[in-house]
Structure formats: C-alpha cells, structure tokens
C-alpha cells in the first residue's frame, strides 16, 4: 500500500511533466547558465582551476534542484492538488516519498546531461570510476531530494516561501555537499583515490538514512493543518 | 566656450597629482630575519579584551531586548485590562 501510493504519486508527476516538460527544460537551462557563470569565475587564462569541476557540478545540482523543488510544489499549490492529496486516504509519508522520488528522477535526468558537460568543459576526468561516480551522485542527489522535498512541502503555504527555501535548505545540505564535492575530487585525482571516495559514499549513505528517517517521522505532524 | 576650456584645464590639473604620485620602485631582493621585531608581532591583549567585551555587550543587549519586549507586552495587557473593567461595571 505504501509503495503503491508512492509510485502512484510519482507516476502522476511524471505524466504531468512529460506533457509539457516545462520544469525539466527550464531546470536544465538554469543548470547550464550556472555552469557558464562559474566558468567565468573559476577559469584562469583559459585553464580551469584545479578541482573546480567537482565544486561546480555539485553547486549546479544544488541550485537547479532548489529551483525544481520550488516549481514542483508551486504547481501543486496553484492547482490546489496538495490539499486533495492530503485528503486522500493514503499514508501521508507515502505521498512525501512519491514527491521525493519525482525530484530524484528529475535531477537524475539533469545530471545525465550536466555531468558529461562539466567533464568536457572543465577537462575533468570524472569518468575514471563510473560506478563510484554513479553511487556518489545517487547518494548525494537522494539526500538533497529528501531534505528538499520536506522543506518545500512545509513551506508551500508560507508567505516568503521563495526565499525561505534556499535559506533553510542550503545550510542543512552542507554536509551532503561536502560529501559530494570531496568524493568527486577523490575520483578526479590522477591515481583515483578509491578509499576516500568509498568513505564519502558510505558517509553520504548514513546521512541519507538519518535524514530520510527524520523526514518520514516529521512529515505527518507537519502537514496536519 | 570659455567655460568649456576652463573645465578641460581644470580636469587636466586634477589629473596631475595622480600622475605625480607614482608608486615607489619595487623591492629587488628579500632579506631574511630570524625573529619578527616586537613591533610587528600581534599584541594579544586587545584581542582578549575585545572578546571579553563582546560577550558582555551581547549578553546585555539581549537582556535589554527582552526587557523592551516585555515592557510592550505588559503595556498592552494593562490597556486591555482597563478596557475590559469599565465595560464590566
């Protein structure tokens, strides 16, 4: 029942998104613009600064993700579908998981384009260990989506939601970003620093677990109003 | 016409000091030294005093804000009480 509800919510969001692809395209373009701005800041005499690619990648994911979160829940608020969802006889936590999975899928599609692009533009050897890179991106993105979906859902009815989401989200996701960036840097070293990368992946996994448990606990009392 | 000429001359005159005050010639070599002369070492006492004073000021400021807010609330409460008691009589 729980998983079925979550997947239903995911399918609903997917169906809406596939029709217009509005959020996907705009998020992708925003991520590209981010990368452009960073290229101006972090490239010196045509050469990218060392390890800049890792930071740029994760910042672009975070900024684009914040926008995508805001827009996804804004769509819910506009159509007043959030209230309908909450009124449905489905476990609230399942609704949350469904929305969270939607964000993960959206960010995953963005990263499919973003990662090769950053590797190309900043001449970074990101694909030396593709499996580890995939694990790193997955754990980092899931962690971000877990925290972000909860906060965005909480803020849906707040007056200053547009600016409050980054204010609340960025400090909370700093541990995730540190893990992601340092793990990616470990993967781009000339002999790939596998032990470090694996340590960061495990750390990210632990953080994801903690955040997910906390989010599942707090979603119910937070949305009862 | 005269005014314009005067403006140009005045602007050029203001630029003169900028051209005159060029930076001095750069150092050509470094000279090592064993210990920093006492005048260059950071004095610790001002930092310590600054830290201590900051804590005092921060704590007092916070206490003052509580005092102020409490005063406002109590004024409002008294005003409400006064409004209610005449109507009760």
């Amino acid at each position: 029942m729980f998983l079925r509800t979550a997947l239903l919510v995911l399918r609903k969001d997917f169906a809406i998104e596939v029709k217009s692809r509005e959020i996907l395209y705009t998020t992708l373009l925003f991520a590209l613009s981010c990368v452009l701005v960073f290229s101006i800041a972090f490239v010196k005499e045509g050469e990218p600064l060392e390890d800049a690619a890792a930071g740029i990648l994760w910042i672009a994911i975070e900024f684009a993700g914040t926008l995508a979160l805001g827009r996804t829940f804004e769509r819910e608020r506009y159509g007043e579908t959030l209230r309908a969802l909450l009124l449905a006889p489905a476990p609230r936590a399942a609704i949350y998981v469904g929305k969270m999975l939607g964000i993960v899928v959206l960010l995953a599609v963005c990263e499919l384009l973003l990662v090769p692009l950053v590797a190309l533009l900043f001449r970074s050897r990101l694909f030396e260990e593709p499996v580890l890179l995939l694990a790193l991106l997955l754990t980092g993105t899931v962690g971000f989506a877990v925290v972000g979906s909860l906060f965005a859902a909480m803020l849906v009815r707040a007056r200053t939601r547009d600016v409050m989401l980054p204010i609340l989200l960025y400090p909370m996701t700093v541990p995730l970003m540190i893990g992601g960036v340092r793990g990616t840097v470990a993967l781009t070293q000339t002999p790939v620093d596998q032990p470090s990368a694996i340590m960061w992946i495990v750390l990210l996994l632990c953080m994801d677990a903690v955040f997910l448990v906390l989010a599942l606990w707090t979603f119910e009392p937070l949305m009862t109003e | 016409m005269m005014r314009r000429l005067f403006l140009v001359v005045w602007l050029m005159a203001s630029a003169m000091p900028a051209l005159a005050f060029q930076p001095p010639a750069a150092q050509s070599e470094y000279v090592p030294v064993k210990d920093l002369p006492p005048v260059d070492q950071l004095p610790a006492a001002p930092l310590l005093v600054a830290a201590y004073s900051f804590i005092w000021l921060a704590a007092m400021f916070y206490l003052w804000t509580i005092w102020r807010r409490l005063g406002k609330v109590e004024t409002d409460m008294r005003a409400l009480e006064q409004r209610r008691s005449p109507s009760r009589r």
Partner: protein
C-alpha cells in the same frame, strides 16, 4: 522562583565581572601565551550553544508530537539563545585564531559545521518571524533536523584531525587552568539559565496577551 531572578542575575554579573581576575591568575599555555585565555569563554560558549540547540530540538519534537504549547515557548527561547551564544563563539573564535593560527578563519570541519549550525538556528528564527501562519510547526520541523547536526559538530574535531583543539583538551586540563575554566563555565551556564528563564517568561506573557485579545473578541 521568580523572586530569585534578580538576585541570581546580580550574582552572575558579579561572577562575570570577577572572571578576568580568575583568568589572569590561571597558568599561561606554553605555545599560545596570553591569547589562549580567550578559551575560558570561547569553549563554554560553544558548550552552551550546543546544549541550547539540543534543548530547542527536544522541545520542538515535543511540540510537534505532543502539541504542548509550553514546549514551543521553550523551543523559541532556546533557539534565540543558541543564536546568541553561537554568535559569541563565532566572534571570539576568530579573535583567538588571528593570534594563534595567524588567520581569522579556516574552512575546517568544526568551524564550518558550527557556522552551518548557527545559520540553521538563524533560519529557525526567520521562519518564526516571517513564515506566516503555521510557521511554528514548520520551525519545529526545522529544529528537529538541525539538532541532528549537533553531534557532527562535537565529533568533527576528533575525526578530522585539524588545527582546532580537540575535545580531549577540556577533561585533561591541568590544575592551574581547571579552576578558571570551570568558574567561567559556571558563570556562562548560569547566565544561560537566567536568560532562558527570562525569555520563556516573555513568551508566556505574550501567550497570555493573545488569550486576552481572543477573550475580548468573544
């Protein structure tokens, strides 16, 4: 209980004023000299900040699940104090670091996580102030998440060996420093308790005022 407030405040202020004397008589630290004495306030302020963050988290959790309004009052008071003592830590730390390490700031584990923790606390206060209706529940959720950050801050210096002194420094203080440290710590803990009580009192009065307004409308 309320009558004890002003006498205790006087005692705490006196202790605070006397603290420099106690600290001046403490032993000097061999490598850092005079500036290490900032530690007598910096470390206890850090302890108070972490304690306050945990108090806020626990109170917020109680408010979220038991819907106890008293818990909400304690939560906001603890958050304001965590922000205050966090600011004290973040200002006194660099003042010490400038002399001891040569730089005002360094992006290492504990400093970064402390800064992040402080930002989360300030975010809590912003949500309470600008969040609109329902912001108390929202902020409580944020506090619960933020409290998960606290163990990271405490443990970070032991896992990542960096410039910041490790937590083992405090239990292993030599007798010459121990007295001064615990005197300053006691002063700050008392100050924290008093400020917390004052703030909770303010919040209780505000709730009473709101109820008076509501009763008037009826």
């Amino acid at each position: 209980m309320r009558k004890a407030f002003f006498p205790l405040l006087l005692v705490t202020s006196a202790m605070f004023a006397y603290a420099p004397v106690v600290i001046a008589h403490a032993d000097y630290e061999s490598t850092m000299g005079l500036v290490q004495k900032v530690m007598y306030f910096h470390a206890p302020s850090g302890m108070v900040m972490l304690i306050s963050a945990v108090v806020c988290g626990v109170a917020s959790a109680l408010y979220l699940w038991k819907k106890d309004p008293a818990a909400d009052r304690v939560a906001i008071a603890a958050a304001e104090l965590a922000a205050l003592f966090g600011l004290i830590v973040l200002v006194t730390g660099p003042l010490w670091a400038r002399k001891a390490w040569g730089v005002w700031w360094v992006w290492e584990a504990r400093l970064t996580m402390s800064f992040v923790g402080w930002l989360i606390t300030v975010g809590y206060l912003f949500v309470r102030k600008y969040g609109g209706p329902g912001s108390d529940k929202l902020a409580a959720g944020l506090a619960v998440f933020g409290t998960a950050n606290v163990p990271f801050i405490y443990v970070s210096v032991n896992i990542w060996r960096t410039m910041h002194p490790m937590t083992t420094v405090v239990p292993t203080l030599q007798p010459g420093m121990r007295g001064a440290f615990w005197f300053s710590a006691l002063t700050l803990f008392m100050l924290y308790g008093l400020l917390l009580a004052a703030r909770v009192h303010l919040e209780r009065q505000r709730t009473a005022l709101d109820q008076l307004y509501l009763a008037e409308e009826d």
